[in-house]
């Protein structure tokens, strides 16, 4: 191959000579690479937007919630209600040593929180200090509840973002302020800004977290707890423990261990697996559509090059007659094909990048949006450019081999 300014000029000339044809052919490749990159970026952004809903949430968690029994057991009728108690916490810890955190929740809905003239509807959530391992708080001011708060049953609270913005419209650090929630006053010790959308008994936004024993006393709940959150130690899948936990609960609270509906178990591991599968499927689809479109574009290029070669039989014959080797012709056709795909494809890459950054601005511009990353990485763009080059070579192969078959005699015969 002779690398010379004229080599490039010749390629540019022959592409520019048929402007509309090159444009239309290039569009196929342009659209293909655009689709692939745009869908890839969009898919990645979507995944991040959706994942941000689970932000700060332990992935290896199960939540156990008592429900009505649906099977008769030991002489008792079905349809019976049962409740979990404090003792279940210790029992679970002892009998299932693979568990890491076992923490109960009990909550009171629809409590009015008041600070001066500002009021807001809040959900009082009685929790232990180790609840932070289940749903990670993002502390903006102050601190989260600690062991002493629980042990001494202090009337302190950590308020969610929406409670904070409603009760303290002028902002500032509210720690130390007393607010009234329901019947009693609590001192604010922290503000939790976490905005994940998974909610266990109400989302963290609208909750006022209070030491669990305090809630039980104020609302006369005795030893009852509403639900139990557990996480497995790292390396152990929570699903593998589910059956044993069910057995233990069933024996203690007298329901049929095979009665799946007596105790509702929400397993986040399964939830995440579903979402993961969804996105695996989605990216498969993205690749299928994107590569399919590029392939269609490449076939278009190959086709047009075929026509071009046919049209240029005489020209190629002349070139051969005055000393071009078959290799010269081959490289010329392949270079043309590469140039067409690469130029069109680069526009596709640039267009996709521009549109993705626009999308990113729009999505991240929403109020209280989690920042999501829609943009494709630099290397993805580089790899797509390389892919285009390879595809350009492939597209040029068939036309080039046809061009090489042209004998110089044909040039004269074609007159």
């Amino acid at each position: 191959m002779r690398l010379d300014i004229d080599t490039y000029r010749e390629i540019a000339d022959s592409l520019v000579r048929n402007k509309s044809r090159s444009l239309l052919t290039g569009f196929g490749v342009f659209w293909g690479i655009f689709m692939l990159l745009f869908l890839m970026g969009g898919g990645q952004g979507l995944k991040q937007v959706i994942s941000s809903n689970f932000e700060g949430f332990a992935t290896n968690t199960a939540i156990m919630l008592p429900d009505r029994t649906t099977k008769p057991w030991k002489g008792m009728k079905e349809g019976r209600r049962w409740t979990m108690t404090y003792t279940d916490v210790e029992r679970m810890k002892r009998m299932v040593p693979e568990l890491d955190v076992v923490t109960p929740i009990t909550s009171q809905w629809g409590q009015e929180a008041v600070n001066g003239t500002n009021t807001v509807n809040a959900n009082v959530k009685g929790v232990y200090a180790d609840y932070r391992f289940i749903e990670e708080p993002r502390i903006k001011y102050g601190r989260y509840l600690n062991e002493s708060d629980i042990a001494q049953e202090r009337k302190v609270c950590v308020i969610g973002k929406r409670i904070y913005t409603s009760l303290f419209p002028s902002g500032g650090d509210p720690c130390g302020t007393m607010i009234k929630v329901g019947p009693v006053y609590y001192q604010i010790i922290g503000v939790d800004f976490s905005s994940g959308n998974i909610s266990i008994n109400g989302s963290a936004d609208e909750s006022v977290a209070v030491p669990l024993p305090v809630v039980q006393k104020i609302y006369h709940e005795g030893n009852n707890i509403e639900l139990l959150c557990v996480t497995a130690q790292s390396g152990i899948r929570i699903s593998s423990l589910e059956d044993r936990m069910r057995q233990i609960m069933a024996r203690e609270h007298n329901f049929d261990p095979t009665d799946k509906e007596a105790m509702f178990v929400l397993n986040t591991e399964q939830l995440f697996a579903i979402i993961d599968n969804l996105f695996t499927g989605l990216s498969f689809l993205i690749w299928l559509v994107g590569l399919g479109t590029i392939l269609a574009g490449i076939i278009g290029v190959s086709n047009i090059m075929m026509v071009t070669v046919k049209e240029r039989t005489t020209e190629i014959g002349i070139r051969r007659a005055i000393g071009a080797t078959p290799r010269d012709i081959l490289s010329q056709i392949i270079m043309e094909s590469i140039s067409l795909t690469l130029v069109a494809g680069s526009f596709g890459i640039v267009f996709a990048v521009l549109l993705l950054s626009l999308l990113e601005t729009i999505v991240n511009g929403r109020p209280d949006a989690m920042p999501a990353d829609f943009q494709v990485s630099f290397w993805t763009a580089v790899i797509s450019a390389l892919l285009l080059t390879v595809l350009g070579v492939i597209a040029g192969l068939a036309p080039a081999s046809r061009a090489m078959a042209i004998k110089p005699v044909d040039a004269m015969r074609d007159e």
């Binding site: 002779r2 010379d4 300014i5 004229d6 000339d13 022959s14 000579r17 005489t314 020209e315 002349i318 070139r319 051969r320 007659a321 005055i322 000393g323 071009a324 080797t325 078959p326 290799r327 010269d328 004998k407 110089p408 005699v409 040039a411 004269m412 007159e415």
Partner: protein
């Protein structure tokens, strides 16, 4: 002998086998101005293609400057064509989207001569043929005679041993034809270029120094024409 053909045979096998060249033996010395004349179908174009290494022959031997031209690879053939032979075609065969000077440069491009040098050389040749002012024009902006002169410049630029002209005047009027033939004659006399013209026009053949008559694939008569009296229409014109 610059060109030597020994009992060259060529058969086309497109359906019905067609024995086009039936044992051609011909020698052409360096510096000769020869025409190969014959009616259409006589095999003269096939002969020219073989001499020009554009086509291969079946049996016999063909030497250029003592080198046997047989079973060459495409690459070798391209190289020989590029360095030893300059072509002039009936329909000029210039590349339409290239300017005159770019067309003239093209053989040097395939030799790998650098851009600056080949442009300079191409301009020299165009100037010599009186086309310096037309260097930047495209073929479709030029007259037939100008186009043929560009083609001649392209044939000359590699300084070849042989110029092969296939009906060089076929697409030109009589006046231009005459000019082109005079130009070829001048090149032959002044530069000593060996020129072989294939034609079916006796007037054109008459401009050359030696006329090889070919008929039905066999060389008939070789006429010495240094007096330029072969044409029945007189020595000074080409009748169209």
């Amino acid at each position: 002998m610059l060109i030597e053909l020994k009992d060259v045979n060529k058969t086309y096998n497109n359906g019905q086998p067609l024995h086009v060249l039936k044992g051609i033996s011909l020698g052409i010395d360096s510096g000769e101005f020869v025409s190969i004349m014959g009616a259409s179908g006589s095999g003269k174009s096939t002969l020219l293609n073989i001499i020009g290494i554009l086509d291969n022959y079946d049996t016999g031997e063909y030497y250029i400057d003592g080198r046997l031209i047989k079973n060459l690879t495409e690459r070798q053939a391209a190289d020989y064509r590029n360095r030893m032979i300059g072509f002039i075609f009936q329909s000029f065969n210039l590349i339409g989207f290239k300017t005159a000077v770019e067309n003239v440069e093209l053989p040097l491009f395939y030799q790998g001569v650098n851009r600056h040098k080949r442009h300079e050389l191409a301009m020299q040749y165009l100037d010599r043929l009186g086309l310096a002012d037309w260097a930047g024009h495209y073929p479709n902006e030029m007259s037939g005679g100008q186009k043929q002169r560009v083609a001649i410049a392209r044939a000359l630029i590699t300084n070849p041993k042989i110029i092969l002209a296939d009906e060089p005047t076929g697409a030109l009027d009589s006046k231009t034809s005459e000019e082109v033939m005079q130009l070829l004659g001048q090149l032959n006399r002044e530069d000593g270029v060996t020129i072989i013209v294939v034609t079916h026009e006796s007037g054109v053949a008459n401009c050359t120094d030696k006329i090889v008559h070919i008929k039905d694939g066999i060389i008939g008569r070789i006429e010495d024409n240094r007096e330029h009296r072969a044409s029945v229409f007189g020595s000074s014109t080409i009748m169209k």
